[in-house]
């Protein structure tokens, strides 16, 4: 046992040396026109050696150290707490939800413009995460290319407005429906795949959309993106200093108040808030409808579900399409908020972050996902002073979270239908 872990530790140490030596120890230096290889200074060598020793010692005592991690778990005061009874829990969650919405309503009138802008972004992520929650949390389909539908929504608005001058309110349903259509078309061939295979195909689809947007220069402007996306209007009132659209009036003149650039930001925030609440309510309702129960049944036992007459493709497709629909929603709001979009906004990392929100929040749980969306969007902003270390902190927070609460912030406890009078 000891000899084995010693061999393993030695192996890991040597691997560390082999990897660190060329990467850190050798430097290419340009001397005139030629390039020569130089060794690094003594300090780097010492650091590499220390790293190898650290890896060696850690691996040697790994079992004992990991055993200590159990103690970490014990430090968590919530670890072994009895779960709340369902009824009480649901009431608490409802109160939490109402409080959140109340705070969200007064928020823009209390804080700075930058905070409102950030809060709008949070709301967009909430919409995205709630949508992905349907696909991953409820239907159990691992979708790594969710950002593609977000892109479809955003680009639909951008293109419609730049070619035909379509307004935000027209583009919102069109963008969402088009994203849903993409979900349907993509879902049809791939949903017979399971687990890992589905994840890879969706990952590929996400990249295809991004690369298409990047290279179809004549239509999408390629990497230059599309700018000049109009802001939403309120019953034909614009929020800019000067009126751009024909027949529109400006908001500040109508109400006879001085112009402020904050009006627009707050208005956009409120739109995002309404849409996020709408998303949450619709999905909440869906969860309690036959279609929601079908998602769960199919996730629980596919064979049994099929034997009862549920069509696998139909049920999965409905989840995929509904998820895509809300991503399209979020995309339209995003395009309007930024005023400019490019394929860079729709990289794989976005998909990964949205997925992380869903997992952190607790798959299938709405309030959990909302809280996680707030945390994941705001924490990196708060940690801005740590500069390049903030992604590291973000990563560490995720690891700790998964050690302490692998089921997520607020694991899903669905509201069951009860048979009354029993």
């Amino acid at each position: 046992m000891m000899a084995q872990s010693f061999r393993h530790a030695l192996f890991c140490g040597v691997i560390t040396l082999i990897i660190a030596w060329p990467i850190l120890g050798l430097k290419l230096v340009a001397e005139g026109t030629s390039i020569t290889v130089r060794g690094a200074d003594a300090f780097t060598w010492a650091a590499v050696a220390v790293a190898a020793v650290v890896v060696f010692t850690f691996q040697l005592f790994r079992d004992r150290l990991m055993g200590r991690l159990e103690v970490l778990q014990a430090l968590n005061p919530l670890a072994n707490r009895e779960p709340l009874p369902d009824a009480k829990r649901i009431r608490l969650e409802n109160i939490g939800m109402v409080l959140l919405i109340a705070v969200a309503l007064v928020w823009p009138f209390l804080v700075s413009r930058g905070s409102v802008d950030l809060a709008t972004l949070v709301l967009i992520y909430i919409m995205l995460a709630l949508g992905l929650n349907v696909v991953v949390g409820l239907a159990g389909l691992l979708d790594l290319g969710y950002v593609a539908f977000y892109a479809v929504g955003a680009y639909t608005f951008a293109l419609l407005s730049s070619y035909w001058g379509v307004s935000f309110w027209m583009a919102l349903p069109i963008g969402a429906l088009l994203a849903a259509l993409f979900g349907l078309v993509l879902g049809f061939p791939v949903l017979r795949l399971r687990g890992d295979y589905l994840a890879i195909v969706t990952l590929g689809f996400g990249e295809i959309i991004r690369i298409l947007l990047n290279n179809w220069t004549s239509l999408t402007g390629g990497p230059n993106g599309i700018g000049g996306i109009p802001d939403p209007t309120l019953f034909g009132m614009e929020f800019g200093r000067r009126v751009r659209g024909e027949g529109n009036v400006s908001f500040h003149e109508t109400f006879g108040i001085p112009y402020s650039s904050e009006h627009k930001v707050i208005f956009l925030y409120l739109i995002a808030l309404v849409l996020a609440v709408f998303t949450a309510l619709v999905i909440r309702r869906l969860m309690r409808m036959p279609v929601g129960r079908s998602w769960e049944a199919l996730r629980e036992d596919e064979i049994a579900a099929r034997s009862l007459g549920l069509s696998r493709t139909g049920v999965k497709l409905s989840a995929f399409t509904i998820g895509a629909f809300f991503a399209g929603f979020a995309g339209t709001v995003f395009a309007s908020k930024q005023g400019f979009i490019s394929p860079e906004s729709f990289v794989f990392l976005e998909s990964a972050i949205i997925l992380a929100i869903v997992v952190l929040g607790g798959m299938g749980s709405q309030l959990g996902v909302i809280l996680a969306a707030i945390a994941v969007t705001i924490l990196p902003e708060l940690a801005r002073e740590f500069a390049e270390y903030r992604m590291l902190i973000f990563g560490a927070a995720m690891v700790l979270m998964m050690v302490w609460r692998p089921q997520g912030l607020l694991p899903m406890r669905r509201r069951h239908i009860k048979l009354k009078g029993v």
Partner: protein, 251 residues
Amino acid sequence: MLEVQNLSMRFGGLLAVDQVSLDVQEREVVSIIGPNGAGKTTVFNCLSGFYRPTGGRILLDGREIQGKPDYRISRLGLVRTFQHVRLFNRMTVVENLMVAQHRHLNTNLLSGLIATPGYRSREQKALDRAAYWLERVGLLELANRDAGNLAYGQQRRLEIARCMVTEPRILMLDEPAAGLNPAETRELNQLIVSLKEDYNVSVVLIEHDMSLVMGISDRINVISQGRPLASGTPEEIRSNDEVIKAYLGEA
């Protein structure tokens, strides 16, 4: 009503089912028996559409159904249970029964989203039917429990109730008495008889418990090593030399 002609199922070099024929009439209990590995469950899997048979025909009311997707066959009224109970464990007992009725519920998203009166009354009807069947199989007081927490015998009964709420015409039970104690087996016996008598359901039964099989079957088909060995009434099977040699004699 159900007619199986020369059904064959080949997995690579293995001929799991070879030229099996059987038929099921209205209100009839037909059993399929045979030693372990004889291919009984494979026959079920072909009938219920989990496998696409490599040969033969399956006719329901004279129409060919072999090779149709499983969920379509189930919607035609040919519903099965499983050798190892397959419930939706983290859903409640009543929810298990609700899922089974989805094809009877309106699947229109919009009417559900705004909860139209029609939608609500359909949902209520489904709940009522679920309650009725729970009462019928003696699980009513456990309706709001998670299905995974039920005792094994209760899970078996729930699985049958879950099939019954789909209003099947033919119910296929794969070893329903496995793991049940004698008292539970007697209850199962009564339940199957009542399904036939009171609900006009035909039952296709795979079972090893000979007293159960002999007691309730109208006809029995014996399969051995994928081939049909004999078929007939319980009396005929009981006195069939080949069957005794191949199956009963060993047991």
